[in-house]
Each structure stands twice: as C-alpha cells, then as structure tokens.
Symmetry: C2
Subunit: 323 residues, 2 copies
C-alpha cells in the first residue's frame, strides 16, 4: 500500500461525505447476518440471543499520530481494540458501525486506506461493517461501536471470580506500551514492539477458549494488567495475587527497558493496549492451550497484589490524567 501524506492534493473535502461513504461501501460483501447494510437510516442485523455492545474512540494526537502509524494500521488497530471488548464478554462479533470525523483538508486516500485497514481487521475478526457516519471535525476521530451476540450463552462478566480460582492470561502484555515508548523517544526499533503498538495481535478465539474451559470471568487488558484485574477484583469482591515468576520477560522488552532505564515490569503490569485477555478459572479447570496461569484469587478486601505485596509502580491509564 502506498503511503499517502495526510495532506496530499485530492482532499476529503473534494471527495465529499457521500464520495467517501461510496468508496467504503463499494466492496462490502454480502453477509446473511446483515439483511440491510449501509445506505438507509440504519442497518438491520440478525442477532442470535442477547446483544453485546461496546464503543471505543480513537482521536488523532491522543490515540494515534500520523507520523507514527500508516492509515491502514490506525484503522486495523481501532477495530482490533474495539472487537477485543466483544471477545471479553464471551460474545461472537457480528456488526460494526464507524463514526468518522476529519478535516476537509485530509487526503482522501488517507481516509480510504484507514477504512480499508478497518475492513482488513474486521474480516480477521469476523465482524461485518454495517454502517457509519462521516462528518467534518478538527482532527481525525474514529468512534467505533461493535455488536456481538451470545447465542444463548450467559455473558462472561467481571463479577464471577471466586476465592480459589486461578488467574490466567492469553496473549502478550507490555509490548504495545514499550513500542509506544520507543516511538515517543523518536526511535523505530525494536520493530516487534513498534509493530505491536501499531497493530495489536488480538487473539479472537480467546473468548470461546475461555468459555469452553469454564472461565468465571474474562477481561480485555486495555488499561494495563493490574488496572484491569483491579476492575475484576472490585466487581467480584475478591483479592488477586499475580506471580512475576509466571512471566518470561521477552528480550526486546528487556532491551528497551535497559536502554531507557525503566523497570520492565512497568510495561508488563501497567502497559495497556496489547488487548491480551485475562480470565479466572475454577482451580480444577484444565487451562486451554495458549493460556498461562499467572496467579490466584483469594477472599478479602478487593485488591490486586504482585508476589504478595502492593505494586508501587504505575498501574494504568486515565485519559485525563496522563502518567
């Protein structure tokens, strides 16, 4: 894919709202779960059982930068992050709508490639793009709403953890945060970390895996492992303890941490946006392939400890309180 500058000659203003919509919807494939796709006042979607819905916003300069990510990477990342929430509820991804706002001066090719990236990740995750809204705004803002269905199953909530459960993790943690730190310092490598930041590798099968092994809770690690497990502990009214010995510190993370003088555990325990999945399972459950036991649940005042002690470092991310 060629790399357009965000301000090349053919602008979004020239293409127009309806031109962009036409380019997005031109190659959508038919999907029997979507009796009515884009083009009417709303889309019609066939849902099996209860609906799960979640929404996520990506703002230029806050969640992405034009000089750090290609437009299709930004689109892919946005969809991956949004769909991860559906997986974390134990639902099957069904339908996606996109609210896209951008300045009229934005290159039309940028907008098209961003939406192309969304479609690439949508196809990977099995979700169908069914509609959206295109409007003017001072910076590129993508608000994605994703819908899934539960097909008769109960949702996998944060409130189901019980003392004695084990805590397990599926996927990488800390890579995206380390990649972001690398970019923030003006570097482009280690590439594996930068790539992990640009397009997280979401394991879309994790919800089904967790359910089939009797998971009592499931969560998407988006704010940071300790912060997100903290939500589970609070919702379930339990304590959790995480054992660092359960993790291997990957070489690129160690290298970056050493180079910039940061404790690598800050990335692992507090770095968000890899969209790994953390779950609790009954003590006697056989963990599904790919899941790693990282700790256990006990009774007591809700808290998450690390090797039995309170974690002193940063725990996670508040969008108005930057750490």
């Amino acid at each position: 894919m060629p790399t357009p500058s965000p301000n090349e000659s053919n602008s979004l203003g020239e293409l127009g709202e309806f031109g962009l919509i036409a380019s997005i919807t031109a190659d959508l494939t038919a999907d029997d779960r979507v009796p009515v796709g884009p083009g009417d006042d709303g889309a019609v979607v066939r849902i099996d059982g209860d609906l799960v819905v979640s929404t996520d916003t990506f703002v230029e300069g806050v969640h992405f930068r034009h000089d750090w990510s290609l437009p299709h990477e930004i689109g892919q990342r946005a969809v991956a992050a949004a769909v991860a929430d559906l997986i974390a509820m134990g639902s099957r991804p069904v339908a996606l709508v996109i609210a896209f706002s951008a300045p009229g001066e934005l290159a039309a090719s940028w907008a098209k490639q961003c939406t192309q990236g969304m479609k690439i990740e949508a196809a990977k995750s099995g979700i169908a793009l069914v509609g959206g809204d295109v409007t003017a705004g001072p910076v590129v803002t993508l608000a994605l709403t994703v819908m899934g269905d539960l097909a008769g199953h109960p949702p996998l909530l944060r409130s189901g953890a019980r003392p004695g459960d084990v805590v397990a993790l599926r996927g990488r943690v800390g890579w995206s945060a380390a990649g972001l730190r690398v970019l923030s310092r003006g570097f482009r490598s280690p590439r594996v970390l930068v790539e992990a930041y640009k397009v997280p590798e979401v394991i879309y099968s994790a919800g089904g895996e967790a359910r089939s092994s009797g998971a009592t809770t499931l969560i998407d690690v988006s704010d940071g492992l300790l912060a997100d497990l903290g939500h589970v502990a609070a919702a379930s009214g339990v304590r959790m303890n995480i054992e660092r010995a359960a993790f291997t510190l990957p070489e690129p993370l160690q290298a970056v941490s050493a180079a910039i003088g940061v404790d690598p555990w800050t990335f692992v325990l507090a770095g968000g946006e890899d969209h790994a999945f953390a779950a609790t399972f009954p003590a006697d459950a056989v963990l599904p392939a790919g899941w790693v036991r990282i700790g256990e649940v006990s009774a007591g005042e809700p808290a998450v400890t690390v090797d039995g002690a309170e974690w002193e470092g940063s725990a996670g991310w508040d969008h108005f309180h930057r750490s």
Copy 2:
C-alpha cells in the same frame, strides 16, 4: 439548571475519566431489556427480533457551539437526532452508547449537564443508555450509536415506494435551519425557531403510526426534505413531486425570510435537522393523524420535483461541501 461556562474551575481533567463515567451511570435506572449495563467490557441488551443500528456524530464548532446552546440542549439534540434514525427504520428504540471526547480543560459540570440532557431525551424516546467511552480530544465530540429492534416486523426502508403512492410528512421542516440562520447572524429570536434548532421536537410515535397505515417507505428528514426524498426516489427507482400548496409557511419562518432576504422555501425544502419524518403510503391508505399529504410518486427516472419542475435552490447538506 445553572449555565456553566465551558471553562469553569472544576475541570473534566480534575474529575477524570472514571469520575465522569461514575457521574453518568450513578442514576441509571434498571431496565429489564438491559441485563448488563455499563461497567463491564460491554453491555448486554435483550433484543426482540432483528436489530437496527445507526450512528451519528456531533462535533463542537461543526454541529454545535458553546455560545449558542446550553450543554443539556446539546445532549438532548444529539440523542433526538440519533433516535430519529431508529424511528425512520420502523424500529423500537432500545439501547444507546455514547463515545464522548473532550479536552481536559472542559468544565466537569458542562460534561455532566450534557450527559444529563442525553438522559432526558433518552427517557422521552424510551431508549436506555447502556454504555460509552470517555476520552481526551481537542474539541467536544459526541458519537452516539443507537440500537432498536423490529419485534418481528420488516424494517421500513427507502426502497419501497411505488408509482401511485402518496408522499406524506409528519412534523416541522425548515424551523431548525431558520433558527440556525438566526443564531449565525447574532440574533436570539424568533425564539421558537432558535429553540427548534437547539432541541428538535422528534415525534417518536411516527414510526408506529406509519407502519400501522401501511407505509411503503419511511425516512428521517435530516439533510433537507428534497435531499432526503431524493434518497428515497433513488432507492425506490421512482419520481416524486412535491406540491408547495400542501404546506403552510409558518409566520416566524416568513418573518425571518423577509428580514434576511431568503426565499422561505429554501428553509422548508432544503433545511435539515428538524427530524421530521417523510413516508410514502399506498394511494388508498388513510393517513394517520398528524400526517400531511405533500405530494405523489410516479414512474420514471428517479428525481424529486417541486410543483412539477426541478428545484433551482439548494437541496441539502454535504458535510465537506458547505452550502
């Protein structure tokens, strides 16, 4: 409700992402269609039949201005406009999610009152607020996704109009556009027009009314009557003719038009955002109370004419091509 300045002392940054979420969700009432509300990775919503989904974005400086509208008015208007799309599909409003982005310097009270306005209009329309996302951004941006259900009915699409059908309208057209023009010129009256711009009066019963009288199409007039009927004509492959004699030009519209030297029909035929509903009905249908016959459908190359001739004025709105 007191009027906060958008930049008063207690800021959104001080309140924090989770503080705002807590204030929004604190007084949500239980709803048996919402087994799981805000607070997990996603909400769980009970849907009767097929799902209808639509998304709408409202950007500070593009769709609203702090000096023209109070925060609760902006919230009300956003919900009214979004839910109108569900009505226009013939669906019952069920669930709403909000993606809210704003600068950290925004007054916390502004954000709270805006979301309070959303809840007021949500209650009016019967939709439940089930979740959202709060994030930082350079200007206030509200992206609302609304979901409705069809309860076994087919959706009311744009493609069902047939030659011989009558075209009918429910609600006001031109008021919001005239109110916006008044504000743009630095005036605050006629108040009825300004109020119509600030909080449109959406007739949430219009979908059920149209369906019960056998409507063949239904649409929400958001871009302008001719523009939106043009979408119906194109989707149905028909011509439509609108008769100006069917309309009464309301006095405040006439007054504003005379004062600023604009043809009042520009407001009526091209002014959007009142969120009136236009429908087509079989020729022998008895129109529901409140619906006014404004024209008819005929065979031929898709187009919308006014009193048998092409309309020379502005037809509607493209978000990147301002007229």
